[in-house]
Amino acid sequence: MLLLWVETDRGANMELATQADCTKKSTLYAGRNSSAGFYDRVTRYLFLACAVLMTVLIVSIVLFVGKQGIKTFQAVSFAEFFTSTQWQPDAGKFGALTFIFGTFALTGLTILLGGPLALAGAVFMAKVAPGWLREILKPAIELFVGIPSVVYGLVGMTVVIPKIGEYLTPPGYGLLAAAIVLSIMILPTVLSVSEDALRSLPSTLEEASYALGATRWQTIWRVLIPAAMPGILTAIILGMARAIGETMAVLMVIGNSPQFPKSLTVPTSVLTTEIILEMGHTPFGSAWNNALFLMALVLLLVTLSLILIVRFVGKRRGFAQ
């Protein structure tokens, strides 16, 4: 309460000012002089309530999903869930290592494939592209965000899968196909955040580098990219968060088989796809259902820790504002 009171300081001052000016009737008063302070207070608390609701929501999501997920340990040991690859719900075996490994492998592969392209695109847009091209590229990249993930999945199914099947191993479903589709889906996130990081560097850095006789590429590679590194790392972590959480596009190209991926082109499953695939078949409260909730909790905790890492990295921003 005390903190809230301190926060209201500026508002209270404004109130004093309005009361002092009561005689000057401006149109802004709209004839509710006496109640203006009351309105101010009510709206302030309404806005505050909306803001606090964010905290209430995230806490209740963690609690509800977590409470359901923890019940898994009544049927399965902690060690079995995290270290076994035996996923046979009918036999009571709930080893989720395959899916946890799959999620991390897929995320790593996605960053490996999509990261360099996104970063090159960011450098291009921030430092190389002429103004008119930037004007075209910017909305184009926003459009990538708007494409529904099922459409990405469909194109993956009809274009990427047959190609992998033709050149590598048929039928083509697996981690590689999913990573190719995901690397395009994370492109806008990684690109726009890194571009912002590059743009927010002070121009003195660039000027100093040119004054020393460096070429543009030397400036980009030795000065700008290192200086923008915290922002670029943030971009990559946000891209990872997107890749970890993506469900439908991956579901359509990964093959959906609960087997440990011995190669990049065999059908397998990741956390998100296994949840969505099996949720419909399991009664609420059964061990199987709880195990799926536990997988959701793992997902949630991984993405939340990524956000904490982003905060940590963001605080170390050297040159970027």
């Binding site: 301190v6 806005f47 291009f124 494409i147």
Partner: protein, 286 residues
């Protein structure tokens, strides 16, 4: 290799990267729309789907897509904007502000399938409503919220402080300043943000499978909030993965083309007015 040559090679490479990204988008749009174009007829867009025979449409799905989108925006806009305004206008540096910011960022990173599970616990299990349009829209609102908070905060913060000072100098209260001066000036930014949110919500499917369900009403324009309501994006996946109809591929391609066209129209229709508004306000401001 001399440094000039390296520089030239790098420049070519960066141009190629930029060109590739643009070409990828153009190909993507042209491919998806091209594959489904022949499928899009008036009948396809307005008739209900069929269980077993070929020739089903996507009418109710298309309707549900917009119905759920509008409902989810109606639920998330006031709260998201309220929170955004709080962060931009009222929040001081304190543990409370830090907590709210961290919560919003966390909420933005929650995988959509987790939102879906949360929604199904609340609406399907706890309230025992089953799969409903209302449950789907409310859960989808959770996805919209953090983005709305961020875009509102940015749009409100972008309004020059001199506007507020001018309003205060005229004797306006904080709320009057906000409502009559700050929010109207922030409108272009808000519209762009809402467009972004709508585009994302439009194509969302993982959230809706376990909240709004996989079935549709067989009559068009069913406004029943407690009926199940499969959306177009969900339908696309379902018909491609588990559909029994013989023309499943064609329907999936047609649905994808419709989705892409809707996203394009959204970007043009909502993008252009916001640019005009922006010009008007920017012109006034300078």
């Amino acid at each position: 290799m001399s440094k000039r040559l390296t520089d030239q090679v790098a420049t070519v490479f960066l141009w190629l990267a930029g060109g590739f990204i643009l070409a990828l988008l153009v190909w993507f749009l042209q491919y998806t729309v091209g594959q489904g174009w022949s499928q899009i007829t008036w009948g396809f867009l307005t008739t209900p789907p069929k269980e077993l025979d070929a020739g089903g449409g996507i009418g109710p799905e298309l309707f549900n897509t917009f119905y759920i989108l509008v409902l989810s925006l109606a639920l998330s806009l006031p709260v998201g904007m309220g929170a955004g305004i709080y962060l931009a206008e009222y929040a001081k540096k304190s543990w409370l502000t830090d907590m709210i910011r961290l919560s919003t960022e966390s909420l933005a990173s929650v995988p959509s399938v987790v939102f879906g599970l949360f929604g199904s616990i609340i609406f399907v299990t706890t309230f025992k409503l089953g799969f409903t349009i209302l449950g789907g829209a409310a859960t989808l609102a959770l996805l919209n919220l953090p983005v709305l908070v961020r875009v509102t905060e940015e749009a409100v913060k972008a309004v020059p402080f001199s506007y507020r000072e001018a309003a205060y100098a005229l004797g306006a209260t904080k709320w009057q300043t906000l409502y009559r001066v700050v929010l109207p000036s922030a409108l272009p930014g808000l519209i762009t943000g809402i467009n972004l949110v709508a585009g994302r919500a439009l194509g969302e499917s993982a959230i809706l499978i376990f909240t709004a369900g996989l079935s549709v009403s067989q009559k068009m324009f069913d406004f029943d909030l407690l009926a199940p309501g499969e959306t177009l994006a969900v339908h696309l996946w379902y018909i491609r993965a588990e559909g029994l109809v013989s023309d499943a591929d064609a329907i999936a391609n047609g649905s994808a083309a419709v989705l892409i066209l809707v996203v394009l129209v959204f970007n043009l229709l909502v993008g252009i007015p916001s640019r005009i508004l922006h010009k008007r306000f920017a012109g006034k401001a300078s």
